[in-house]
Symmetry: C2
Subunit: 334 residues, 2 copies
């Protein structure tokens, strides 16, 4: 059997990670013990949250430790099994890590069906990012028909789904994304009502133009300046959903707090954080509804697929540079 | 009849207001038209919100215009009436402004009874600050028995009532105040479980000590550093009530945003603003319940009373210097 290439955390990054924080190792695949299975990972998920897992801080999940395989979601095939619950040949989603093969007792892994959807989609729209969009928007943001919904990171794995679900729910949807291509994509392909290019537009002016009655729901993936602009334009009783803050994750100083937070007072508004794991019992429900929308064409899914586990670092950097559209995925090998 | 001394806004302040922003004028009292009443103001309310009304900005209430009498709550006696709904000799609460006499058609004024409570209390515990504490804590903060409630500005008109109501509701209550005298007062006199002196204590360390299980409700009157410390110590599903941000009101630069706002995400917490006016239909209900608590000794009310309308500016500055305890009130004349 071939060897297992693994990407391990060599040291903690300061600011934007460089390649020296990883060790790429080639190791033997352990012999399976009773109850274990061997998964050949086919696709690895790249998510902004990974940057947080590199910091030695108390958070919603423990940090990745130095010397550990980098944590990542993956989909793969069971190629050997000493566990009666998992059959060889089936496909699973789980936290497989950045490695070619994962040995596990199967806890936390769930079956996925490549005949129903392409495997990478189980890491995106039919996986964590999709669930994050679904529950964050519907349960925390509580959009009502006719509301104006603003979403940042709007061409990304989460933001693109947030905007489309908001459209399905009868909202006016404005997306913020970087560059003309992404802006064109979310309006022309995904049906957003308007797009703001944060790299080229006057965000304040465009928000005024596209959200004339104010913002009822702001789904924030980015933090920083854009969060402040959105706060300045809230409608009464607005809901601000804090999903992430990718503009701040590589800061070496204290994160930038939203200066305009007193807009919450003036507008009797709410800012609320959430973590998708809390909804795990309802993932099935969300997957079923989103699969229906995918089938009838109301929901579109896009994946950016890089190839080769040895390219993990350069793919990882695309989370921050924005050089990708939709869900970022690494195909483990050709 | 005597003349009417009025304090008008002469110009907009930059930073901490100095005396030059006011014009003190002595004017004739206008002759009453049909439907109008003349109120002799006895006590004028001083509130942190006044600083916001001086800025030319869109907010929950229009700014005071240059040349207008400074807006302020007041209690006074009807000394002449051409309105059948208001009898001479009765006492009213309303937005009388910083002046000795107010002429009004009576809209927005409500009767108060000096036999039931001292007049200044209708500007504090039985007035806006009391209602702010009552609805902000109970309706927005939603404290549950056994919760840890933290309140800043804890020796002030709002904070002191927030802490006492939280105690009545069976919460563990920690107050943040400036200086040993205020800290001693809220613990010894008001029954808070603990006090943190933000001028002398290590806030982070004390929060760890006094809120070992985290903060379930944080009622914020101050913003700035203290808000950040509180965010860093939230319990899961915590509620942060944004009532004010007195530490930021005299800033000449952009207000300081809460750097630790991503704690809302990690802890699935909510930060929500409110404005007491939205509860106006329920003021009677709150006044009745708080009057009961005052009567049975579970709620204590304190007023700091300065004297003389000509001293308005120096009294106003005490809102920011903290040289007062409880509700700040100006007695119009001896």
């Amino acid at each position: 059997m071939s060897r297992n290439i693994q990407v391990k955390l060599a040291k903690r990054p300061v600011g934007l990670p460089d390649e020296s924080i990883w060790n790429i190792e080639s190791n033997d695949i352990p012999v399976l013990n009773e109850g274990e299975i061997l998964i050949k990972n086919e696709y690895i998920s790249l998510d902004p949250a990974m940057r947080g897992w590199l910091n030695d801080m108390r958070s919603y999940i423990p940090p990745v430790q130095i010397g550990e395989v980098m944590r990542a979601g993956s989909v793969g095939q069971v190629i050997a099994s000493k566990n009666e619950h998992f059959k060889e040949g089936t496909y699973l989603y789980g936290t497989g890590g950045v490695q070619q093969y994962t040995v596990t007792n199967g806890k936390g892994w769930i079956g996925v069906e490549p005949k129903l959807a392409p495997l990478p989609m189980y890491l995106g729209t039919l996986g964590m990012p999709g669930f994050t969009a679904y529950f964050g928007l519907l349960d925390v943001g509580k959009p009502q028909t006719g509301d104006t919904v603003l979403v940042s990171g709007a061409a990304g794995a989460v933001g693109s789904i947030v905007g489309q679900i908001a459209r399905i729910k009868g909202c006016r949807v404005v997306g913020i994304a970087g560059g003309p291509a992404k802006c064109k994509y979310i309006v022309d392909e995904l049906g957003f009502d308007a797009a703001i290019d944060y790299k080229n537009d006057d965000i304040r002016q465009k928000l005024k133009e596209y959200c004339p009655k104010g913002i009822d729901v702001y789904f924030d993936n980015v933090g920083g300046d854009i969060l402040d602009h959105a706060l300045a334009r809230l409608a009464m009783h607005a809901r601000v959903v804090i999903c992430g803050a990718i503009s701040q994750y590589n800061n070496t100083s204290v994160p930038r707090g939203p200066s305009n937070y007193l807009s919450l007072l003036v507008n009797r508004a709410t800012m609320q954080g959430f973590v998708v794991f809390d909804y795990s019992k309802k993932y099935g429900e969300a997957a079923k509804e989103m699969a229906g929308w995918l089938k009838d064409g109301r929901l579109k899914s896009k994946e950016h697929i890089d190839v080769g586990i040895e390219n993990f670092h350069s793919t990882f950097l695309k989370l921050f540079s924005g050089e990708k559209m939709g869900k970022l995925v690494l195909k483990v090998s050709e």
